[in-house]
Assembly symmetry: C2
Homo-oligomer: 419 residues x 2
């Protein structure tokens, strides 16, 4: 089967001048890829009619699908609609359902419909309008010589909704793309290279139509198995069998199947067991608490935290023994264990975790260079600590430490979460 090729054209000076980062294209690239459509080029062009036309001319020599974002606003900088009207030798005409949508949005905002926004409902006669339920700029779908051109707004949540609800399903139908299934397996606590070595035999044995991708991010690695075929049921069964094999090879590093964050997986494990957790943070300075509380519903298992940035706070609020601090220092196994055990007792939670280290870039010594970090885990059976050694970047050290603590909690809960 011949690959279906797409290109993305983003329109707007604000991307070229670096005022905004083009996150739309990456999202679209990932979604198209998941739908079995290959992105060949992404082109960002200026708000200039000639330049947009040139980009369209170039793209159609390479691609079956040309997706555009941006330039659909109501002001005179926004040229995409006029360019497309000329490009497809057509004229603008009022599209009543779009006008009704726009009027509805203005009504909900309690504002008067302006002439500029009314003009957004005039669309090229040659296009099939693509409904925008979240904003005032409708999308446009054109077909010419077996190729499809779609223009969408640049506002990320409007574009994403349009892609998900309408454009991707229609593209799959139009180009009769094969069935594509993705299975994501989330690992933590193992480096990509070691993981690759452990999986080598299994990976090599995969049939041609199943591909494995390693997607590392800050100390965790997502594994994505992508399969394509004619029969979805059969493909699903075949892939599940491979994922089961994978689970057998590296059971202790897998925390979830599916697109689930580590903090979310831990939240679900805690909830299922009816356990609660409290945190005591020094070097992570609140970031660990933030990660845990970024999950909606975390109040069911999260009690709270003491952020003990000063030693006085460690002594007064966490009952760390002043002698421990004097003898071993704040960044030590003894201190961090007392922090974890005491926050657990103090907050009456089932689990207590703690961090203490030198996040940097200043504050290191010969004995304890920047990046020296102790973390601890405590429950009613045990209190244990680990020493971490990172580098000089303060924010990365905070990120890595937080992940390592979450991984300690996960290891003690020792289970896997399904999407």
């Amino acid at each position: 089967m011949k690959a279906v090729i797409a290109e993305i054209i983003t329109i707007g000076d604000e991307i070229l001048y670096g005022q905004i980062v083009d996150t739309n294209s990456a999202w679209m690239g990932a979604e198209l890829s998941k739908a079995g459509i290959k992105v060949k080029q992404i082109t960002s062009v200026s708000d200039n009619a000639g330049h947009i036309t040139e980009a369209l001319d170039n793209a159609k020599t390479r691609a079956d699908i040309i997706l555009m974002t941006g330039g659909l606003g109501p002001t005179k900088d926004d040229l995409t609609k006029d360019v497309l009207t000329a490009y497809f030798h057509t004229t603008l005409q009022l599209h009543e359902p779009s006008l009704a949508d726009i009027a509805e949005i203005f009504k909900n905002r309690g504002r008067e419909l302006t002439e500029l926004n009314r003009e957004q409902a005039f669309l090229p006669a040659a296009c099939t309008p693509v409904r925008n339920v979240l904003g005032t700029a409708p999308g446009m779908w054109f077909e010419q010589n077996g190729k499809v051109y779609v223009s969408m707004p640049g506002v990320p949540f409007e574009m994403k909704r349009m892609m998900t609800d309408i454009v991707l399903p229609q593209l799959k139908a139009y180009f009769k793309t094969p069935e594509i299934i993705h299975k994501v397996v989330q690992t933590v606590g193992i480096a990509e290279s070691i993981l690759a070595a452990k999986l080598e035999t299994w990976e090599t044995s995969l049939p041609e139509h199943l591909k494995l991708a390693y997607l590392p991010h800050l100390g965790s690695v997502r594994l994505r198995l992508t399969g394509s075929g004619e029969d979805a049921t059969q493909l699903e069964q075949e892939m599940q069998a491979e994922v089961d094999k994978l689970q057998q090879i590296i059971p202790s590093y897998i925390f979830a199947h599916g697109e689930i964050k580590l903090e979310e997986a831990i939240g679900r494990m805690l909830k299922e067991r009816g356990l609660t957790i409290a945190t005591a943070e020094s070097c992570t300075g609140g970031y660990l608490a933030h990660k845990i509380t970024s999950i909606s519903g975390s109040s069911a298992y999260y009690q709270g935290s003491v952020i003990a940035y000063h030693n006085n706070v460690k002594i007064r609020e966490l009952n760390v023994n002043p002698e421990t601090l004097q003898q071993h220092g704040a960044v030590s196994e003894a201190t961090v264990k007392e922090m974890a055990a005491n926050v657990r007792l103090k907050f009456g939670s089932d689990i207590g975790v703690a961090t203490s280290g030198i996040a940097g870039p200043d504050g290191g010594t010969l004995d304890k260079p920047v990046g020296t970090i102790w973390i601890a885990y405590s429950d009613k059976y045990k209190t244990e600590a680990r020493l971490l050694q990172f580098n000089k970047d303060r924010l990365l050290n905070i990120e890595y430490t937080t992940l390592a603590v979450l991984n300690l909690v996960r290891q003690s809960l020792n289970t896997t979460v399904e999407e």
Copy 2:
């Protein structure tokens, strides 16, 4: 003076498939723009020799400068060097200084130099090598028919260092770009549209060679005044006079001149006055503490925090009166004021701040819908609270609330920080 035009070509399938977001191009676009060079197009292409060549051919019809990133690694997927060698009809030759740099990097990592990495020191004879002090792939600078082509690694920190130290200064010299000066004024607590209305008269009065840009981000707006001219000293004086006028128009919204974050500005204000701060967080769940402690040296003024997610913690650790909680609820002016005042007393700090609200997306009621958030500030003279009302996005609510609290602290300190 004719504008100098640049184009950026990023090379690599991982961008097209959405496995990474291309942040390099936005950074380069912003830096080039600051240097008086206009970016006309950004093109992301696949790891394919023909495709890279086509992109170069197209770019040189439009631009004076073609900047490439990516495809310089040691593996066979990395094609950029071979493509450029063919494109400029040249051959590879060993570049001894690059080999010395690569050998040094391997020595520092305690690893044996591999043949693959040794090959990275072979560079096209027609190029001027661009030193990479942070990685094993040297950059390449080509000149042909008055146009400049530069190839750089895709690793962001390597590319940024190369651009800043070598490429940007050399481009400015080569194309004799005008003197460009930027002055950044940071505002908070005022919406972009209201700010624009207040500044309209002043902005309209600016001479042609001074341009103002509004760069909004999550409730704060950076104002960037860009001037171009022949004489740097004169331009600097002229721009400073305009910035002084700006300061007179909106004194109470400006927290810093220059690229300084709000949490950093507050840190410097606190340090200068010898003041300390402690935080009590409910709905922000540690994010406020994280923002404060993300600044290196924050231990000089930050004492710590109690994250009181559960009411029990509010009562036990922050001495909130149980009657207050019963009568007014956790999300109330009375509770948040007690939290701020008590954390200040408990931690012995000069300032205490607190947050309590419904971050969402669940947990709202008719009286207190999702996004209802109280914040408070307390020092020895006063304790005051503000009611905020946001929407349903949990993480955005946490971000906006944190910014609002930092702004409360700034208002009480009532000063401006210079870069």
